[in-house]
Amino acid sequence: MGRTETYDAIVVGSGISGSWAAKELTERGLRTLVLEAGGPVGPADYVMTTYPWNLRHRGRRDRARQSKERYVQRHCYACDAWSEKFFIRDDENPYTTARGTDFKWIRARQVGGRSLLWARHVYRWSDLDFEANARDGHGVDWPIRYADIAPWYSHVERFIGVTGQAEGLAHLPDAEFLPPMPLNCVESGFREGLTDAYGGDRLLTIGRCAVLTVPHNGRAACHYCGTCERGCTTHSYFSAQAATLPAAAATGRMTLRPWSVVHSVIYNPATGRADGVRVIDADTHDALEFRARVVFLCASALESTRILLNSRTNRWPDGLANSSGELGRNLMDHTMGGGADGTIGGYDDKWEYGRRPHGIYLPRFRNVKDQHPDFLRGYAYQGGASRSGWERGNAMAGFGAAYKHALRRPGPWEFHLYGFGECLPSPSNYVELDPETVDKWGIPVVRVHCQWGENERRALEDMTVQAAEMLEAIGATDIVPFTEDNPPGLTIHEMGTARMGRDPGSSVLNGWNQSWDVPNLFVTDGACMTSSANQNPSITYMALTARAANHAVDLIDRGEL
């Protein structure tokens, strides 16, 4: 082992969760080491102003290379000719799946993690979600309720900037909104038609997104170029690089160390605490140790759990802080891809100017007031109305001048509804260390056991049927219902495997994201989730992280940690 450096806090991971931990801990006065497995990424790497004509193959992916280097990542829509460099190399970062199952693990090892690439949708949870496990008996009860996290949602939203429309829904609480982006004319018509058809039970609203519609905290408003995942040089959407890491750096108390692959947590049996972490330098492969008073794991759900599973001790031969036996269990992701498309008439002379970086949201309406006979929990839709462009020339007859001029005008308005559904926590969906496979740095990889259950499938089918019915109700024609067969993981909302709970016998973390077994160890990324709700989860990771970090500093200040 090489030299050892000591800090007040260590944060493992620099993405959505880790950068929030770094910001809060440093702003509260802690000298904080942020360890990032990947390399630095910044505005110089962004490809926002790279247009198709600047690329050799005009944005066509190199299929042969991707099939060797990014054979999992390429299944993500954003892993294209522009942005593939922001995704991991699958050949260096393998994982395995149980025989006969599929799990697509989409990852980014870089400063900022996946915050550069995320779809930016942010929706608060409510007690409909925090009480769900207690209500129907799946999983264990959340140790917190909406009132515990609400101020932290506000804290996070005020900093990152969230555009959206206040609607006053009890089960989808409003955020601290910046002005909303407008619905387009067809979406406005849909909103009215839906209210006419379903009374107040179903609502279409503009998406709630971590994108700025006005200048905010020194960052510029969105310029509507439409391709956020290429990186935004005006910092108009929330990424760690744009917002939280600069704030942490401004305190002068953050040390950010890229190329630092965390191998395991160093447990001290004499004190019962974590002394720090073991790191393998990604470049030199040197083994290093770093020590701190408190350790935050924010490496992403499966990476944080992998680190704990790999931190075996005499007391916990199956992974650190695993007295409950729940470490690795209850892996969840959202289902996606029940939905329908339909053609909308009546707005032929209207189109959009600018490329809005998000679409509509149609919040959950199932199992809100009464119980559906076929499935538990709920789902929500994203989507919107758009008109096709030149691509439809592939399906049109003809060629020549008239064909060319016809393609100047857009195709018919089409409305797309695409559902995302809640996944029940189940102990049979879990990860473990694969005894036979290691990554480029010799660290055992995870083997994933994950399959959709009957409840997820039934809800997915209902998404399809309801999408088609709603399109019919508002007068769409040529309705095409679909039910995609997406494997778990691909929604990139993987969560669970180190759940929070009320009882040390059945959960890994307490209500403050703190390990029951190792009091100075916190896990605040998606691993901590006790249930999945159906909302995009990142804002909840941010709020839980900020809450946990401030609690940790409170404990330190009170001499209790």
Binding site: E352, G393, A395
Partner: protein, 203 residues
């Protein structure tokens, strides 16, 4: 041995890969570790045929057409570098067939036929291709497996290449479609006429 060295060995920097016999091409690909040959790839005759087809599909009108937008070079590069060998062979067979078919009808290559005959030939190929389901597939199989070679009828394949090449060019995007890199605002309800170029008066 890197590719440049190999090219020198083979006879100088200007050696045309397209002119190599197949077994040497295979050896070249193997030796250099490259999956595919690179442009220039077409013979002059092949390039002439592609140019004629591109010009018929997206001609110059009140805006530049496919040829001015560099679509011929684009197609050559995609065929040479991006396509799988199966896709490439299929495309090249279709291109060869275009000239053979025209020779049989009018004793000239496609590029030198009367425009009315060129149009009639393309219309015939389009009808054939449509019967084979060609109009239902979008060419860029962006999410495909490497082994998922795209097998489209020739007309629909080359038309898809012309469309992609034209509408991803700077001319196609900015002059033809009025693409603005940085729109600066979003308006969800503007008149189509404000954001599209009108068809010329004559139509």
């Amino acid at each position: 041995m890197d590719r440049r060295t190999l090219l020198r060995v083979l006879g100088g920097a200007t050696v045309s890969i397209a002119g190599l016999p197949p077994q040497e091409l295979t050896a070249l690909v193997k030796a250099t570790g490259r999956r595919v040959p690179q442009a220039p790839f077409f013979t002059d005759v092949q390039r002439e045929a592609v140019r004629a087809v591109a010009d018929l599909i997206i001609p110059a009108t009140d805006t530049p057409g496919a040829v001015e937008a560099g679509v011929v070079q684009y197609i050559e590069m995609i065929v040479a570098e991006w396509m799988t060998s199966e896709e490439r062979e299929r495309f090249m067979r279709g291109l060869a067939h275009l000239d053979e078919h025209t020779q049989a009808l009018a004793a000239v290559r496609f590029a030198h036929a009367e425009v009315s005959l060129q149009v009639a030939i393309l219309e015939g190929l389009e009808a054939e291709g449509r019967a084979l389901g060609g109009a239902s597939t979008e060419f860029p199989e962006m999410y495909g497996e490497e082994e998922d070679a795209v097998s489209m009828p020739f007309f629909h394949s080359i038309r898809a290449l012309v469309l992609h090449g034209y509408y991803t060019s700077e001319i196609g995007m900015k002059e033809e479609l009025l693409f603005r890199e940085i729109p600066g605002r979003y308006d969800g309800c503007v008149d189509v006429s404000e954001v599209t170029r009108p068809a010329p008066e004559s139509e």
